[in-house]
Symmetry: C2
Subunit: 349 residues, 2 copies
């Protein structure tokens, strides 16, 4: 019997964190491309833009004026998808079921400098962003009716980012979202069965195998997970078993900032373009349960596939059947690992 | 106590078919938009394009020559994501698990005319497409090792469609994909509990409520499902409890063609643009089990939100937490229902 070659044969891989599967078609990038090419992004942005609603001192749509902040700044989104005062009520009519949702949406400015992005920021500046994420997770999570805090960043027009000023968002809410529920379930199952952290055991295995690692330092590991869906998906996780970012010591915060900078520089260097992605931090829900099983991690889901202008589309088969990827995880990890840690534009700020 | 108003208050809705939830933020489209605008699509396309690998008589990348087909034509994809001869083997190493996948990918040309799309095709021509889908579902489904047949169409560059020639795809494979598994589970649970079809009972309720219906004829209903994720998502389902498209009688095939034409014309009329979408038909797996619980349906997932150039992005929160929509299902259904059934370009073929 011929044996399965993960570099060649179409196969499915199991995602230990969600319990789901991804279809991998290693041979698939060979097909011709007559489809959509994205425009390349011009990088010239001023340090201050008077029309940007996130720049210091500017007036937002709500009429509020941003302070002259010098590092980071967070505020409640003027167009929040979640509101804190919805009636505590449900709707049920035959097969139709709905439930009110309450929450708070915040915007987190990473820097006063309109022209920057995470890879171009200094380590100390990224540490301040992490510090703000910690503060928000703690404060929002402590609020009544906030059982989950989702920190994320959409970067680039391709990822629906409506303003290029370096910023992320936080959506904190009453119910625990679906993707997080899946990961809670899988981690809890493993924790109960093995008395160990699923993700920590996985990281130990990956360090041993040394095939999918992109970068690491004393406290953190960055890798393309075995079950990655997006072409150059990366996960950053702490080597210690921490439930949430709050638990990071000061020195670990530095390690976290360093590896974020390293990964995002590699991303920009890959196609010599500001690399679009959605980034999200998954950590323990703030619902009061202990959640010992949880091991926090930050994931990057970037759409670019072959160049700055050709992306992977998650459409058709992927929407109706199953996520599917065209290049192997191991190729992606190797490519990223080999890339320089110095930003191609070399302009550091 | 104030009661929940589904037109105003952020809430979650339950998807009876997948068991999942969608977050709805009815007030959200008011926010300003500084983000990506899609280019508008020029519609001028010749009836025959010598560079198109799907036009009759042309040579494909594989060297094969397309016949001079006069209605529809299907063939095995030259760049299939699935292959029929992978080694029947698994891979397991600690926490890493993979499994070979076998299958067949086909391309289905809807028409020899390069310039057409479904809404511009004659009813009889669409019937022939349905006839081919039936044939493929039956033949592929009868093959050993094919336990699921996914019929779909990606339309428009925005949906990763690499060739504008009117065509769809079929990916048939050994394992039953994730999205289908979810729907099997929910339908089976209901079937066992109530001795009735979940989707049929739902359609009956929707006909009674008459709030989310977009179009209907004797045999089919088109509606925006209560739990729709995409802004103008539509589901077409037969009123009779059919597990798969094979079971349609000849006259029902006509009704199916008519409602497909009606829905896709409304789509094009919405923003007076060829409306991009992914369409997929979910039906009973072909794994030999009876699957009495299954009620087949065709779904359209279109990304446009506010105009021909502003789309909804499923990024950030949506990727890491939960699908989220900005306009209510009821608004979307009403808008679509009111649109004309005559194509804005009036050029029928
Ligand atoms: O096969 P095509 O049209 O080249 O490719 C398109 O459809 C496929 C199936 O939905 C997707 O996997 C691809 O990402 C998409 O670009
Ligand atoms: O809030 P923004 O940046 O205007 O909007 C962006 O992020 C949101 C949260 O991921 C998404 O719901 C929107 O579709 C996207 O365009």
């Amino acid at each position: 019997m011929m044996s399965l070659n993960l570099d060649e044969h179409p196969h499915r891989r199991h995602n230990i964190l969600t319990g789901e599967w991804v279809l991998v078609s290693p041979h698939r990038t060979k097909r011709p491309w007559q489809g959509k090419q994205e425009g390349t992004v011009s990088e010239e942005r001023p340090k201050y833009d008077e029309n940007c609603y996130l720049c210091p001192g500017n007036t937002r749509a709500s009429g509020e004026v941003n302070p002259n902040y010098e590092s980071t700044y967070s505020f409640t989104n003027d167009f929040s998808a979640l509101l804190s005062d919805t009636p505590d009520d449900g709707y049920e009519d035959g097969l139709l079921r709905a439930r009110n949702e309450t929450g708070i949406c915040k915007v987190v400015c990473f820097s006063p400098n309109h022209s920057l992005t995470l890879p171009l920021m200094k380590i100390e500046a990224i540490e301040k962003v992490i510090g703000l994420w910690q503060k928000e997770y703690t404060e929002l999570g402590a609020m009544e009716n906030i059982n989950h805090v989702q920190i994320f960043e959409n970067k680039g027009e391709l990822m629906g980012c409506s303003n290029p000023h370096p910023h992320g968002q936080i959506w904190a809410q009453c119910s625990v979202p679906q993707e997080v529920e899946k990961k809670s379930r899988q981690q809890l199952h493993y924790w109960r069965k093995n008395g160990a952290s699923l993700l920590q055991d996985y990281l130990i295995q990956e360090i041993h195998l040394n095939e999918r690692i992109v970068a690491q330092n004393e406290d953190f590991l960055a890798l393309v997970p075995f079950w990655a869906v997006w072409p150059y998906e990366v996960m950053i996780a702490p080597k210690k078993h921490y439930q949430n970012i709050e638990q990071l010591a000061k020195s670990e915060r530095t390690g976290f900032a360093e590896i974020i900078k390293e990964v995002t520089i590699k991303y920009d260097n890959l196609f010599e373009t500001p690399f679009p992605y959605s980034m999200g931090i998954h950590q323990a829900p703030t619902d009061g349960a202990g959640h010992e099983e949880w091991h926090f991690h930050m994931s990057f889901y970037p759409p670019l596939l072959r160049s700055a202008t050709v992306r992977k589309f998650m459409v058709g088969y992927e929407m109706f059947a199953n996520p599917q990827r065209d290049i192997t995880v191991e190729q992606a990890a190797q490519t990223l690992r080999k890339l320089s840690n110095e930003h191609y534009s070399q302009k550091s700020d």
